[in-house]
């Protein structure tokens, strides 16, 4: 499954489109807030139209001394021009600079070039790793303005982004719960899911870019063109900007796939480095005790250098794309300088008009550039989104329509002609036909790989048989609601997992409404009471991640207590006694025998002392139930497979 997570990175442009379309639909539950955001973006397009005017006034009226004729100015700036009629140079200076200052505080700009404009934002340093870059994506303003307007827009956007991401992060997390148990047998799947959680913010990135940029860029071009038309009666610059659009697209489009591929390669190489570190960290004892330090270091060195090399190739691709853009832009700028200066030389325009034209052109080109490079900048998000949707689309464990709750099992569980194949087609279980009764303790015995755990997983429907049926009192579990099946089973896994809460809470996972007395009783029955009381805060002791300093045997006993407190009719234990000393084991077995009087107890065990306590032993070999019966009955067969198994285990005993 991890393979699929990682390998699905080469997607066609058409698929990219489909992915983006899907991302956009994600905004639907928040369309009201999003509409406000869009409105704010549109509003912030208007004030920049004022920016070039004070500069023109300074050049024309202050430096060149042309008289002010308010009628030459378009209506929206005329009130300022009227103030300048007959004003002294100092007054002109004050009025125009004051106007610029006003714009600084309202929209965060004093001119049209990037160094004279601010954009409300709060980017922090991002490493090359997903976690920090994601943090920035989550907190990006997507704002064209700064100042008071920008601050407000940033605030609004941030709330919206956080709401959206919280919503989808939670939905993704829900999906994880719905995945079938086997998906988690591969330890690495956790890792993959973890990374997908970090891919989720790509959704908002795509949504903002894809919805806002096509909205405000053309609108911005339109507004500037209209202004120039009103003031000078020409739409030429607008047409040039429109012509720039496909040029920018053409110059960068060939690089889109290249950049995406290089970016993905770089990301993969980074992941390799990260997993080298992680592997080294978790294997440190093995690495050191086997004297492989130097080799591990070299491996890390190589992987890391490789990942850096990939990143440089990614950057090189970008450098070429930008060089191509410059090659497109340069002739346009040269033409503009020529065209504008001709008009000034001919006396049609003033020097200030020329400055104004340049300022407006910068605005036009910025809009055209943003729109033209939209596609190429979205490429990086495609792969991440693909992984998010892949996880969302994984088939989960869901109840079939019309699934009925299963009544509590009273007589027993029966396997009827059950086969189970792994995903790769190898057979794990073959023609299992056995009955496991309530009121008895059944042991599953067999060598490693015989299929014991797989068989046990079929009972709570962690797995479903490839062929055949699993029946609770002759009712097929396949048609029953999952919750009603699982609530009847308490399962103790081979590897114990404890949560970072108190001992009591950990036991109560089995049944959240268990009373304290019930928790204590279960702990006593599991032989855990004694050591729990010896802990600093007894039952209230917080365990720390992964159980902290508890020994394997102690964790095992807590896991058993958790299962006992559930008081489910079916109790399944996968090697519950492997880490217990004989004394504790003996006490636990008494408890299990006691529990088996009213329940179905299924134990997977290696230890003879445990196996001998069972009423029924199912001896498995190569996925088949080879022998069945009590210990004594099976031992009575001189050529029995079980007997041979036992003798090997006890050979040379006292």
């Amino acid at each position: 499954m991890r393979e699929t997570f990682e390998a699905r990175h080469d997607v066609s442009q058409r698929e990219v489109l489909r992915i983006f379309g899907r991302a956009i639909r994600f905004v639907a539950p928040f369309r009201g807030r999003f509409a406000v955001k869009a409105l704010l973006t549109v509003v912030s397009l208007f004030p920049p139209l004022l920016l070039p005017w004070p500069i023109k006034m300074q050049i024309d009226h202050l430096l060149e001394g042309h008289p002010v004729i308010p009628g030459d100015y378009p209506g929206f700036i005329r009130p300022l021009a009227e103030q300048l009629v007959g004003a002294s140079p100092a007054e002109i200076l004050l009025w125009t600079l004051g106007f610029q200052l006003l714009l600084v505080f309202t929209i965060g700009a004093m001119g049209s070039t990037s160094s004279e404009r601010d954009q409300a934002d709060a980017r922090l340093s991002a490493g090359r790793d997903t976690a920090t870059t994601t943090e920035n994506d989550l907190n990006y303003g997507h704002s064209r303005a700064s100042g008071l307007l920008g601050l407000f827009e940033f605030r609004w956007t941030l709330r919206l982004t956080h709401l959206l991401n919280h919503h989808y992060r939670s939905r993704l997390f829900e999906r994880i719960h719905a995945l079938p148990m086997t998906a988690f047998d591969d330890e690495r799947i956790g890792d993959a899911i973890y990374r997908v959680m970090y891919d989720a913010p790509a959704i908002t990135q795509v949504v903002y870019r894809l919805l806002l940029i096509p909205l405000y860029s053309p609108l911005g071009i339109l507004l500037v063109t209209w202004t120039l038309d009103v003031a000078y009666g020409t739409r030429l610059l607008g047409w040039v900007a429109l012509a720039l659009l496909p040029l920018v697209g053409l110059a960068t489009f060939p690089f889109a796939a290249l950049i995406r591929r290089r970016g993905e390669e770089s990301r993969m190489a980074g992941a390799t480095t990260a997993s080298t570190v992680e592997e080294g960290m978790s294997n440190v004892l093995a690495v050191q005790s086997l004297g492989a330090n130097e080799r591990e270091r070299q491996r890390f060195d190589r992987d890391s250098a490789h990942s850096f090399g990939r990143f440089r190739r990614y950057i090189a691709a970008w450098i070429f794309a930008i060089a191509c853009l410059a090659a497109v832009g340069l002739p346009v700028i040269l033409w503009l300088a020529r065209y504008g200066s001709d008009l000034v030389i001919a006396g049609t325009l003033t020097t200030g008009d020329f400055a104004l034209m340049i300022a407006y052109f910068v605005q036009l080109a910025t809009y055209a550039f943003i729109l033209g490079t939209l596609w190429i900048r979205l490429q990086g998000n495609a792969a991440g989104l693909n992984r998010v949707f892949f996880l969302m689309d994984l088939p989960g464990e869901e109840d079939a329509p019309g699934a009925q709750p299963l009544p509590a099992v009273a007589r027993g569980v029966r396997f009827e002609g059950v086969d189970f194949d792994y995903e790769d087609g190898t057979a794990a279980l073959r023609s299992i036909d056995v009955k496991v009764p309530v009121g008895a303790m059944t042991a599953l015995v067999g060598s490693a790989g015989a299929g014991k755990t797989t068989l046990a997983y079929l009972v709570p429907r962690f797995l479903s048989p490839t062929r055949g049926r699993v029946l609770f009192d002759e009712r097929d579990v396949a048609g029953a609601s999952l919750a009603s099946v699982r609530s009847q089973v308490a399962f103790v896994f081979q590897e114990q997992h404890l949560f970072d809460t108190s001992v009591e809470e950990n036991i109560r996972v089995g049944r959240p409404d268990a009373t304290q007395a019930e928790v204590h009783r279960a702990a006593r029955a599991a032989g855990a009471d004694e050591f729990i009381r010896a802990l600093p805060d007894g039952y209230a002791t917080r365990l720390g991640r992964a159980g902290g300093k508890l020994s394997v045997g102690q964790k095992q006993r807590l896991a058993i207590a958790r299962a006992l407190v559930r008081e489910a009719p079916i109790l399944i234990l996968d090697e519950p006694t492997s880490a217990l000393d004989p004394d504790t084991e003996r006490r636990l077995l008494v408890t299990l025998r006691e529990a088996a009087r009213t329940r179905l107890v299924l134990v997977i065990a290696h230890r003879l002392s445990t196996v001998r306590q069972a009423d029924q032993i199912l001896f498995l070999q190569d996925g088949r139930v080879l022998e069945r019966g009590s210990h004594d009955a099976l031992m009575a067969d001189p050529d029995g497979a079980y007997r041979r198994f036992v003798e090997l285990q006890t050979r040379g005993a006292a």
């Binding site: 200076l93 160094s115 005790s289 290696h606 198994f645």
Partner: protein
């Protein structure tokens, strides 16, 4: 030696660092300290950095005058029609008599000046500026990567030694793991705290310097942004740090929550606690977003304020320069500037300086943004550097010798050890294991069996007593020679994503194929390996074939066997084997280990019987030692009661031994 108190203090410290749950102990000084701490990392690329900055400065020195003259030619000459200074005319390959020696330029002259100027600009841009920018960007990234590589390697080495030390301390191991995640930010460290600020501070100064040459007062007005901005920065820093810390903590809590739930997902599903897990996740997620919102909005306010501040002084600078231009005042450094044709303020000069102030204020804002970011990074990096500076506790003595070839025995003498002062794990342990013997170590969970073996590997030093190999104290021996004399096979064993053969050969890369097979045979692994799809060349791990626990254990035993060391520790490596296989493995090992000392830590009594000597541990004490037979005869003995708990009633018919 490892005193318990120090051990405790160190792990406490790491835990605290890992959780980051402390007040604002990061002052300005600490941020600077982190900065200074970065400097040694630059040593390896010193020459490249000098070359990079040198080239950048040279390019600036070459291009800036050209840009300045270009502004003057275009605004003053072409647009206003003023004659060009001679030097500018010559540079444009125009006849000075036509464009310099006149009162006003004719329309034709203005057009021809313009055309020459545009061609010159295009040539400089395409031939010099663009290629240089591309090449320098690439060079710059290459340099930062070199630095990062160095830092990563240092961290990697340190994590390896420290992780070993903290192997037993799970929670501290956790803290280290989180530190590793923090260190991912290292990839941006040098750039953000050093290179970028240096470059932008340089650009800021160049801008102010250019303006200064023309008009010192305008430059001073512009620089007036510094004092209030510094005060603002000082006032905001603490608030930012508190916010960043909160954001990091809530985010770390969320991450921990996700990891915990994913690790325990089987339990969550088996017990149907999905709704509770979901609620807890959503609460953590919301808390993380709330904290992020708080601090990011603060950062945004900060940057808006800085922009407002620097805009005020920039506009004031404009005002002064507009006035100078209106009155066509002479420039300040006229002796220098006249060389480029500047003697008085013109529209071209004004636009040039306006551009420079733009660059200067842009750099100013970036410096302040970086300052805000530095507060965030310092919190993370502080921990990284503390980790880099931690000394491993077990180190070679200055006069450490290499362990001579193993001959006689391994001896523990009155060994005491505890992970903390109130938690003695081993008390007064003494025994001898001879070459050629198999020593079994048994006892209930938590009785100190594995700790004993950690001491033999010298992952820790005993608090009292000594461990000797052939009479030589381990503390006098070099770690490398000790560890190359000991191999270990663990219960939880690790296979790498490589072929079976490579996995077995992991500790002895030069071993022949025949030796690999022989080792696998000893570990009773040869049989199942042959049955794998590609035999010894079958790829294992993540993307390859998965082995059962028992098979993995045998591969790791084969690996330890192939390492061919005089001392072999088996720490419950046979726990998942069935009895038949285990017996075979132990017999093979006995035959193989004739002149070696083999230690077997185990629960299973069936395997203990193979041992020459059995050490029985209970609560950190060695309560009994001897052979199976002697111990079994001791009435009321601990071993005897262990065996009786396990053994079935004597079989009627013994299988032939």
């Amino acid at each position: 030696m490892a005193s318990p108190t120090r051990t405790e203090a160190l792990s406490d410290e790491l835990r605290r660092l890992g959780s980051g749950s402390e007040g604002d102990r990061l002052s300005f000084r600490l941020v600077v300290a982190v900065l200074l701490r970065c400097l040694p990392l630059l040593r390896g690329v010193r020459r490249h950095l000098l070359a990079f900055f040198g080239i950048v400065l040279l390019l600036f020195a070459a291009i800036l005058p050209l840009v300045a003259m270009g502004f003057d030619i275009f605004w003053t000459g072409v647009l206003q029609g003023s004659p060009l200074p001679e030097i500018q005319a010559r540079l444009l390959l125009l006849d000075p008599a036509l464009v310099s020696g006149v009162d006003v330029l004719s329309e034709a002259a203005r057009r021809s000046v313009r055309d020459h100027a545009l061609v010159a600009a295009a040539v400089v841009l395409l031939a010099v500026a663009l290629p240089a920018a591309g090449a320098l960007t690439y060079y710059y990234i290459w340099i930062t990567q070199r630095i990062n590589q160095e830092l990563r390697l240092q961290l990697h080495d340190r994590l390896q030694t420290l992780s070993l030390r903290f192997h037993a301390e799970t929670r501290v191991g956790d803290a280290i793991y989180r530190l590793h995640q923090d260190s991912a930010m290292v990839s941006d460290l040098i750039e953000a705290v050093f290179l970028t600020p240096v470059m932008h501070f340089g650009r800021h100064l160049i801008a102010a310097g250019v303006v200064f040459l023309f008009d010192p007062l305008a430059a001073l007005i512009f620089l007036l942004a510094w004092p209030p901005a510094l005060a603002l920065g000082y006032w905001m820093s603490r608030r930012l740090r508190i916010g960043f810390r909160a954001a990091r903590e809530t985010n770390a809590a969320l991450t921990a929550r996700i990891q915990e739930i994913l690790e325990g997902i089987k339990v969550v599903k088996a017990y149907g606690t999905e709704p509770a897990a979901q609620r807890s996740f959503e609460a953590h997620s919301r808390a993380a977003f709330d904290a992020a919102f708080g601090v990011r909005f603060l950062v945004c306010i900060f940057s808006v304020l800085v922009f407002g501040l620097v805009s005020v002084t920039t506009l004031a600078g404009y005002a002064r320069m507009l006035e100078m231009t209106r009155l066509a005042e002479p420039v300040f450094a006229v002796a220098l500037l006249i060389g480029f044709g500047f003697d008085r303020f013109t529209l071209g000069v004004f636009n040039l300086l306006k551009g420079e102030l733009g660059w200067g204020s842009g750099s100013f804002r970036i410096i302040y943004r970086m300052w805000a970011r530095a507060q965030d990074m310092a919190i993370g990096l502080d921990r990284v550097f503390e980790l880099l500076d931690l000394e491993p506790e077990v180190q070679d003595a200055p006069d450490a010798v290499d362990l001579p070839p193993f001959q006689r025995d391994v001896t523990f003498r009155g060994v005491h050890f505890g992970y903390g002062p109130d938690r003695p794990t081993l008390e007064d342990v003494g025994f001898t294991a001879r070459a050629g013997s198999l020593t079994a170590i048994v006892g209930p969970t938590g009785s100190g069996k594995s700790t004993l073996m950690s001491l033999l590997l010298r992952l820790f030093d005993p608090d009292a007593g000594s461990i000797e190999i052939d009479g030589l104290d381990l503390r006098a021996v070099s770690l490398a020679s000790l560890r190359s004399a000991v191999s270990i096979a663990l219960q939880e064993n690790v296979l790498f994503g490589a072929t079976v053969r490579e996995n077995i050969r992991y500790a002895a890369p030069t071993a022949s194929d025949a030796a690999v097979r022989e080792a696998a045979r000893v570990a009773a692994a040869d049989g199942f390996i042959q049955e794998l799809p590609d035999g010894y060349d079958t790829l294992l791990g993540e993307r390859g074939t998965k082995l059962s626990t028992g098979q993995r254990q045998r591969v790791s035993i084969a690996r330890a066997v192939l390492k061919d060391t005089p001392i072999l520790i088996l720490d419950e490596p046979t726990a998942s084997l069935d009895a038949e296989t285990e017996l075979r493995v132990l017999r093979n090992l006995r035959a193989w280990g004739r002149d070696r000392a083999i230690f077997l830590v185990t629960h299973r009594l069936s395997s203990v019987r193979q041992a020459d000597r059995i050490l029985v541990f209970h609560e950190g004490r060695l309560v009994e030692q001897g052979s199976h037979e002697t111990l079994l005869e001791r009435p009321g003995g601990a071993y005897r009661s262990l065996v009786h708990a396990e053994a079935p009633p004597a079989p009627q018919r013994m299988a032939a031994p």
